[in-house]
């Protein structure tokens, strides 16, 4: 299972990198979304994948899952959700103002308005 997850995370990172290297702003934003998905899955995998036990540690508990990775991912998902929303709005506003979503044309020299 861990191996499968590792491949999945790798594919997500690969796709994210490809998308972020493209010129269109919207593709870049989708790329950042995939990148954070990959990071979250990696965090889940690194915490250890276990089945079939509640995250309760009793004195006689035979097995238990580690609840911490889930808590961390939840936090990280909320943050990346907020940032992606902000980024989308910013992209739309920038498109309105600058008239392009092509990163090549957003290069700009400093000091030029």
């Amino acid at each position: 299972m861990e191996i499968l997850m590792a491949f999945l995370v790798g594919i997500l990172f690969m796709t994210a990198t490809y998308l972020m290297l493209s010129k269109s702003l919207l593709r870049i934003i989708i790329g950042t979304g995939l990148l954070s998905h990959g990071a979250h899955l990696l965090l889940l995998t690194m915490g250890g994948l276990k089945r079939g036990a509640a995250p309760l540690l009793g004195e006689n508990a035979p097995a238990y899952a580690d609840p911490l990775p889930q808590a961390l991912i939840l936090t990280a998902i909320v943050i990346s959700f907020g940032v992606t929303a902000f980024f989308l709005v910013l992209a739309y506003r920038a498109y309105q103002e600058l008239g392009t979503d092509n990163m090549d044309r957003l290069r700009g020299k400093e000091g030029h308005e």
Binding site: L43, M46, L68, V83, L90, L106, E110, E113
Partner: protein
Amino acid sequence: MNNLIILPILIPLITGVILIFFTKNIPVQRWVSAAGFLLMIVAAGMLVSHVYQDGIQTMHLSNWEAPYGITLVSDMFSALLVLTTSIISFFVVLYSFKSIGEEREKFYYYPVVSFLIVGVNGAFTTGDIFNLFVFFEVMLMSSYVLLVLGGTKIQLRESIKYILVNIISSALFVIAVAYLYSVVGTLNMAHISLRLSEVSDLTIITVIAVLFLIVFGLKGAIFPLYFWLPGSYYAPPAPVMALFGALLTKVGVYSITRTYTLFFYHDTGYTHELLQIMAILTIIAGVIGAVAFTDIKKIVIYNIIVAVGVILFGVSVFTENSLAGSVFYIIHDMNIKAALFLLIGIVISITGTSDLNKIHGLIHRYPGVAWTFFIASAALAGIPPLSGFAGKLLIVRSGFEAEDYIGAAFVLMSSLLVLFSVMKIFIRGFWGAPRAYKNEENAPVKWLLFAPALLTAFAVLYGFGTEAIYPVISMAAETLANPEIYINAVLKE
């Protein structure tokens, strides 16, 4: 257990929340935020004196004992940085009253500054690696808003790049935490340090250390990763630039210092060597930029990068003296960068341009601005007895003692070129024949000068009072050099 620790985080948070309800009432916005920040200075000052008397202060949130819950830890280093942050943000807010413009004041400028300070103070205080990530995000989210607030074309364009870079570095941060967690199975920084000393396989630790260096290096602008900084910091108005330049990169530098002194001190052969090389290259790259540009904003922005290199060089030498030098220098640099950016803001509000070729002879009509700038630049370059001197002296001397001659020589030479780069502004911009500028009459120079003049006065006092401050600084350095002090304070209470 000391509840005082959380006040520098809580006060700006509450201030920000209150301010959201009164967005259109500018006097309320101004004075509530100023009062809140003043209160924060008091709280931070009390925190420093507590730490000085009783050693490291900790606070277990919700009373969960140390390795299980989130712990806030204030050692001398973080307490001093919190105090410096509070002072700078207070003065930047005062400066903003007449500089940032009513439009921005009505659209959440002060609340967002408050939230930014929540993030910065939180990042300095937290003792939990994932909580550090969360406070980083609080800080970054506020910085996105501050960067784009106003919505001019250059701001929108640069914000996109800034956000993209930071999203990538945040994802890398999560990945680094994931790897670290898989090795040590804990998030409490003291506990991580303890567990790492039991790990036998040092290669995986080195991988994690380098990953953390990349993550924090992106935020703190070290050599190959600083590419985004000159463009992004150029876009916003002067007070925001001062906040960014003084605080944001220093959070990255603080995190590198913290992780490299607390986590990765077992096998310093590869990691600290790498840090040292990157620090030296950072100094070189920053100096080249500072000397090359004739735009006053750019010159000071590249000086941020030089300072990051100098501080990290001190960290990479990793002796108690060099760490003391770094602590000295980081506080000096936060203070003086804020002062310089605010002074440059005055120059821009007088002349309406940041191009040095179009600015002449300001000293005739604004001697106060000119001489404050002169003292601030001398302090930046580290001319004794001003504030930059003691830190650089300690860093360079311990560099020579540790036989890192090349690095120490570069730090020394960089001071000379830093002095040249800021004196260039003084000679070409302030001297020469006076000329008239369009917006000159509207610039409220007297009010604006108040904040940077006081910050410069701090720099002078900090320099003259080196002897008096030294016990505090050496206490901070002692904790950094001996991680077991930190570990014991957090875990054995």
